[in-house]
Amino acid sequence: MLDRAYQALTSLRLTVVLLALATVIVFAGTIAQVDQGLYQAQARYFRSLLIYWSPAGSSLKFPIFPGGYLVGGLMLLNLLAITIRRMKPLRDHLGLWMVHAGMILLLLGQLFTDLFSVESAMPLNLGETKQYSEDFHANELVVIDASDPREDRVVSLPESRVAQGGTLDVPGTPLRLRVKQYWANAEILDQTTANALPTGADKGVGLGRFVLARPPTPRMEERNVPAAILELTAGPAPLGTWLASSLIGVPQEFSHDGKTYRLAMRPKRHYTPHSLTLLDLKHDVYKGTDIPKDFRSRVRIQDPKTGEDREAVIYMNNPLRYGGATYYQYQMAASGPVKSSTLQVVRNPSWLTPYLSCLLVGLGLTVQFLSHLVKFVREKAT
C-alpha cells in the first residue's frame, strides 16, 4: 500500500495532473477577481486547501476543487519524491537538479511569505513622526488607560474577537465589554435613511446617530469600516453604551474610578522600535499631462536603540530597507492643505528566496537546454 502511494507520488503523471490542476486554479482565481476582488479571490482559490461552492442563497458549502495550498503542497511532495528517486546522478543532470532545487526553494519561500509576511501602510502628514504602521485589512478595538501622564496603557482586542460577540473582559482593567451589535462594514449617519438603524448609544459620538450596514467591499484598494455597539460595565455598575467605528477619528473618552479611558476602533497597528518622520515630499508629472513622472518622500529615521539618526529618500523602485522592514513609496497627496505621503511597510523574512531560486532555475534551465542544443547542433553538423 505504502509502496503504491510512493509509486504514485514519484510518477510524472501526477506531476502533469498537479500542474494541470494548478493551471485551472490560477485561471479561475484570475477570472474570479473581476467579481470578488483580489483579496477574496486569493483567499478562496490560492490560500485554501479546498475550493468550496455554495448554491446561491444557501449556507451549504460543497468542496468542488482542490485549493492552492493542497495542490502546491502535493506538488512540493511530488517534486521532492521525484528528485530523490528518479533523478539521475548529479553530474549528468546538473541542470535538472538545479531547476528542481530552485523550484523547491521557490515553493517553500512562497509558503513562508504567505505565512509570515506582514503588509501594512504608514500614512504620514508632512512633518509628522510615527512609530507604527497600520494594517491594510485587520482592525482592532482598543481601550487605552490614559491615567498615567507618562505613558498610555493600550489593550488591543482584534476585530475578529469583537465579531464573535458576547462579553469580554478588558485585561488589566476592571472593565467588561458586551458586544450588542457588530457590522463588518457600516456607515455612520447623522440622519436616518431607509435601512439605517439607530445606534442606541447613550454615550459618546454614537448618541443620536444611525448605522447603515454595507456589504463588505471586494475591492483591494478599499477597506471595510467596521462598527460595533458596545455596552461597558465595571463590576455591577453599568457605564453606558458606546458606538465604536473606525470612521470615528478621535478616541472617545470616559472615566471610571478616577481613571481616564479612551475607546477606539481603528486599523490594527504594528509598532516598531524606530520612528519615521516625513521631512519633504515631491510629486512630478510630465509636462502637459497627468502621467506621474516621479514621486518621492524624504524621511528621517530615528532609532533610540541603536542611536541611529539619518535621512533617507524613498521613491518608486527605490525602497528603504531598515530594521527588518522595507518601506515603499505607496500613495501621495501633494496638493491640498495637508500634504501627505503613504508608505507601504512590508516585513517579509523570506524575501530573498525568489532571488536565489530564480538564479538556480534560470541557470539550471540554461545548462540543461544548452547541453541539448549543443548536442543537436553537433548532430546536425555531422
Binding site: T15, V26, M316, L365, H372
Partner: protein
C-alpha cells in the same frame, strides 16, 4: 546539377529591400512646405515630438487611419489635414474624419447608415445630442458601458479633440492672426499702464484697458483649449520642459511686455497660409527653423528624426514583406522547389532587416528598451518570431521556420497596427514603470517567452494541417517538426519562467510584494505551467508528436490570454487599457485554435499522411471535420464569438471526436489512436 535560376530569389529580395528603403528618400515639398512644417518640434503627452506625429496620432484616433480619404483624389496626408483644421477650418470641416460604426448611433444622429466616415459639418447639427448622451454615459463605470455607449463616448471625445486642435495655432475665429498680434503688441504697454493706474486708484484710460482686455478675452479660452504645446521655452538651459500652448503664451505676453518669437512666427505662417501666400509661409517657416536651431537643436533633431521615422513606416514595410515570405514558404509545399523556399527565406531576411532597423530607430528615439507598452510588445513579438523562424529554417530546411516566422510576424504587426489606434505609441512611462533596467530584463524576457510560444503553436498548426490534409508528413518529417516544437517549448519555458520571476523581483523592489496574484502575473504563470505540462507529458511518455502539436496550439490560447486577455479583465496593476473590440478578436482566435486542436485529435488513421490506403471512412471523417469547423466559425461570426458559444463549440467538437474515434477505430482494434 547546377541551379540555373538560383539568382531570382536574390533579385526578389533585393527588390523588396529597395522598395522598403525607397520611402526613406528625401521628398521635396511643392507649394507650401507642409512636410517641413510637420517636422517642427512641439510638446505633447509629456514628450517632444514633431507636428507630424501629432497629426498622425490624432487622425488615427478619429478615423483609424493616418491619411484622409477624399473621393476621386489622392488621399490627404495627416499633416495637411491638421494644418487645414488649424488654419482653414471652413475647408477641413468638409473632410470626413470622424468614423462612426454603431448603427444605433448613426440612427440617433440621423446619419446615412451606409456610410462610416463623416465630416465635422455633417456632425455639427447633432453636437448637442452627442454631448447630452455623453454626459449620461459618463456617469457609468467604463466597464459597464455597452457598445453604443462606448462609441458615443468615443465620438464625444473625438469632437472635443477636434475642437482643441482647431484652437491650437490661433484663436479659432481670427482671420488675420499676424495683424491681430501686431495690434495686441501695440495695445500691451498702454493697456498695462492703465491696469497699474487703476490698481493704484488713479485715473486710468478706459479705452486702452478695454482694448487689451478684448485681446486677452480672446486668448483665454485658447489657453484652456489649445492641445499641443507649440511655444518652446525661451531659456532652455533653465528648463527644457517649459513649453506653453499658444493661448497661455499670448496671455503671458501681457505680463512680460513682449510676445514670444515663436508665437509671432506661427502667426505669420497662419496669415500667409490663410491668404494662400506660399512664399510668405515658407519664408516665415524658414526663419522660425533658423531661430529654433539656435538654442533648441536637440529638440529639432529629435523632431526631425521622428518625422523621418513616420515617413519611413518600417513596420508597415516589414509587414508587406512578411506576407510575401509567407506566401513563398507555402508555395514551397506545393511546388517543392528549392528556389521557392530560398525566396521565402531571403524575403524573411529582408523583412527582418527592415523590422530591426525600425525597432532600433524607435529605441533610440525613445531612449528605452524595445518593449514599453502593449503596442511595442506586439512589434517585438513579431521581430522575435522572425528571428526564431530563421534559426529553425537554418536547421530544418523545409520552409516551416520561414512560414512560422513570417506568419507570426505578419499577424503580430496587424495587431500592433490596431493597437496604435489608441493614440501616441511612444507615451511617457509612468513613475512605477520608469526603470530601463527592469524594462530591459523582465519585459524583454517575458516577451521572448510570448513569441517563442506563438512560434511553437504555429508549428503545431502546420503539423496538423500537413498531416491531416497532405501526404507530405512522412516519417522523418514528423520527427523533425516534433523536435522543432519540443526545442521551442524548452526555449519558451526558459524565458517565460525567468521573465515571470524577474517580474516578481521587480514587484518586490517597487512595492514589496514578490507575488500578488495580479492577473498579468497569473497569466505569465499560466504560460509557465502550461509549458511545464507539455514538457513533463512528453518526458513521461504521455504524448508523442501529434499530441505535442495539439498542446502547442493550446499554448497559443494560453499565451494570447496572458498577453491580451488579462488586460481585458479590467482589474489589477497591469490593466493599462480596456479593449473591447480586442475581446471579439481574441475569442475568434481562441475558437480557431480550438477547432485546429479538434482536427489534430482526429484518429490517426484519418490523417492523410498516415492512412495506409485511402479508405473512404477516413476521408469522409476528414471532410466532416472540416465542414463542422466551417459551420462553427460561421455561426460564431453570427453570434460575435461570445463565450457561451465557444464553450458550446467545444462540446460539439468533443462529441464529434468521440464519434470519429468509434467510426475510424473499430472496437476489435486494440490499437491506441495515437499518431506517428
Amino acid at each position: 546539377m547546377k541551379n540555373r535560376f538560383a539568382w531570382w530569389p536574390w533579385a526578389l529580395a533585393a527588390l523588396g529591400l529597395a522598395w522598403a528603403l525607397s520611402s526613406l528618400l528625401p521628398r521635396r515639398d511643392t507649394g507650401f512646405h507642409i512636410r517641413e512644417f510637420g517636422r517642427l518640434p512641439v510638446l505633447l503627452n509629456g514628450r517632444v515630438q514633431p507636428f507630424d506625429s501629432v497629426a498622425r496620432n490624432n487622425l488615427l484616433q478619429l478615423r483609424n487611419k493616418q491619411t484622409v480619404h477624399i473621393e476621386n483624389e489622392r488621399s490627404l496626408p495627416a499633416m495637411n489635414w491638421l494644418l487645414d483644421a488649424m488654419l482653414r477650418p471652413e475647408q477641413a470641416g468638409k473632410l470626413k474624419v470622424f468614423r462612426i460604426d454603431h448603427p444605433e448611433l448613426l440612427a440617433l444622429l440621423k446619419l446615412d447608415p451606409n456610410e462610416k466616415h463623416f465630416s465635422f459639418e455633417q456632425l455639427q447639427p447633432s453636437l448637442e445630442e452627442v454631448e447630452n448622451q455623453a454626459r449620461r454615459v459618463d456617469q457609468k463605470q467604463a466597464a459597464e458601458r455597452n457598445a453604443f455607449e462606448r462609441q458615443t463616448m468615443k465620438l464625444f471625445q473625438g469632437l472635443l479633440l477636434y475642437r482643441r486642435l482647431l484652437n491650437s495655432l490661433r484663436p479659432e475665429s481670427l482671420d488675420d492672426p499676424a495683424a491681430d498680434l501686431e495690434a495686441y503688441r501695440q495695445a500691451i504697454p498702454d493697456g498695462i499702464a492703465a491696469v497699474h493706474d487703476r490698481q493704484a486708484g488713479k485715473d486710468f484710460n478706459e479705452e486702452n484697458l478695454n482694448r487689451l482686455m478684448a485681446h486677452l478675452q480672446r486668448f483665454e479660452p485658447v489657453s484652456r483649449f489649445a492641445y499641443p504645446l507649440i511655444i518652446p521655452p525661451l531659456d532652455p538651459a533653465k528648463s527644457r520642459d517649459a513649453w506653453e500652448n499658444i493661448g497661455t503664451s499670448l496671455m503671458e505676453a501681457a505680463r512680460q511686455g513682449e510676445i514670444h518669437p515663436a508665437a509671432r512666427a506661427y502667426a505669420t505662417m497662419a496669415t500667409a497660409y490663410r491668404k494662400g501666400d506660399t512664399n510668405g509661409f515658407n519664408q516665415a517657416l524658414a526663419n522660425y527653423q533658423a531661430w529654433l536651431a539656435q538654442a533648441l537643436h536637440h529638440e529639432v533633431r529629435k523632431a526631425k528624426a521622428e518625422g523621418l521615422f513616420n515617413q519611413f513606416q518600417p513596420f508597415y514595410q516589414a509587414t508587406v514583406l512578411y506576407v510575401l515570405a509567407f506566401v513563398f514558404a507555402c508555395l514551397f509545399w506545393v511546388r517543392m522547389s528549392e528556389n521557392v523556399r530560398r525566396a521565402g527565406v531571403l524575403l524573411l531576411w529582408t523583412a527582418l532587416l527592415i523590422h530591426t532597423f525600425g525597432l532600433v530607430f524607435r529605441m533610440v528615439l525613445e531612449g528605452r528598451p524595445p518593449v514599453t507598452n502593449l503596442y511595442s510588445s506586439a512589434v517585438f513579438i513579431g521581430w522575435g518570431a522572425a528571428v526564431l523562424g530563421l534559426i529553425l529554417e537554418r536547421f530544418f530546411r523545409v520552409g516551416l521556420g520561414t512560414a512560422a516566422g513570417a506568419g507570426t510576424g505578419f499577424v503580430t504587426q496587424i495587431i500592433a497596427h490596431n493597437l496604435a489606434i489608441g493614440g501616441d505609441t511612444m507615451e511617457m512611462m509612468r513613475a512605477v514603470l520608469d526603470s530601463n533596467f527592469w524594462l530591459a530584463t523582465h519585459v524583454i524576457t517575458i516577451t521572448m517567452g510570448y513569441f517563442a510560444a506563438f512560434v511553437a503553436g504555429f508549428l503545431g498548426v502546420f503539423f496538423i494541417l500537413l498531416g491531416l490534409f497532405t501526404r507530405n508528413l512522412a516519417g522523418p518529417m514528423v520527427q523533425a517538426i516534433g523536435r522543432m516544437i519540443y526545442g521551442i517549448i524548452c526555449f519558451t519555458i526558459l524565458f517565460s519562467f525567468i521573465g515571470t520571476i524577474l517580474g516578481g523581483i521587480w514587484a518586490d523592489q517597487s512595492w514589496g510584494r514578490f507575488w500578488g496574484w495580479d492577473p498579468k502575473e497569473n497569466g505569465a504563470l499560466i504560460i509557465v505551467l502550461w509549458n511545464a505540462i507539455i514538457l513533463h507529458a512528453r518526458w513521461g511518455g504521455l504524448v508523442r508528436e501529434s499530441g505535442l502539436a495539439v498542446m502547442a496550439i493550446f499554448g497559443n490560447i494560453v499565451t494570447a490570454f496572458s498577453w491580451f486577455g488579462v488586460n481585458m479583465l479590467g482589474v489589477g496593476l497591469h490593466s493599462y487599457g480596456f479593449m473591447d473590440t480586442g475581446f471579439y478578436y481574441l475569442m475568434f482566435f481562441i475558437l480557431t485554435q480550438l477547432l485546429l486542436m479538434g482536427l489534430g485529435m482526429l484518429p490517426a488513421n484519418c490523417w492523410r499522411s498516415l492512412e495506409d490506403t485511402g479508405t473512404t471512412v477516413a476521408s469522409r471523417i476528414r471532410l466532416a471535420a472540416l465542414a463542422l469547423s466551417a459551420v462553427i466559425l460561421a455561426l460564431g461570426y453570427l453570434v460575435q464569438f461570445q463565450l457561451w458559444f465557444c464553450l458550446l463549440a467545444c462540446l460539439i467538437l468533443a462529441a464529434f471526436l468521440g464519434i470519429a474515434h468509434r467510426l475510424a477505430c473499430p472496437p476489435t482494434d486494440q490499437q491506441q489512436p495515437q499518431t506517428a
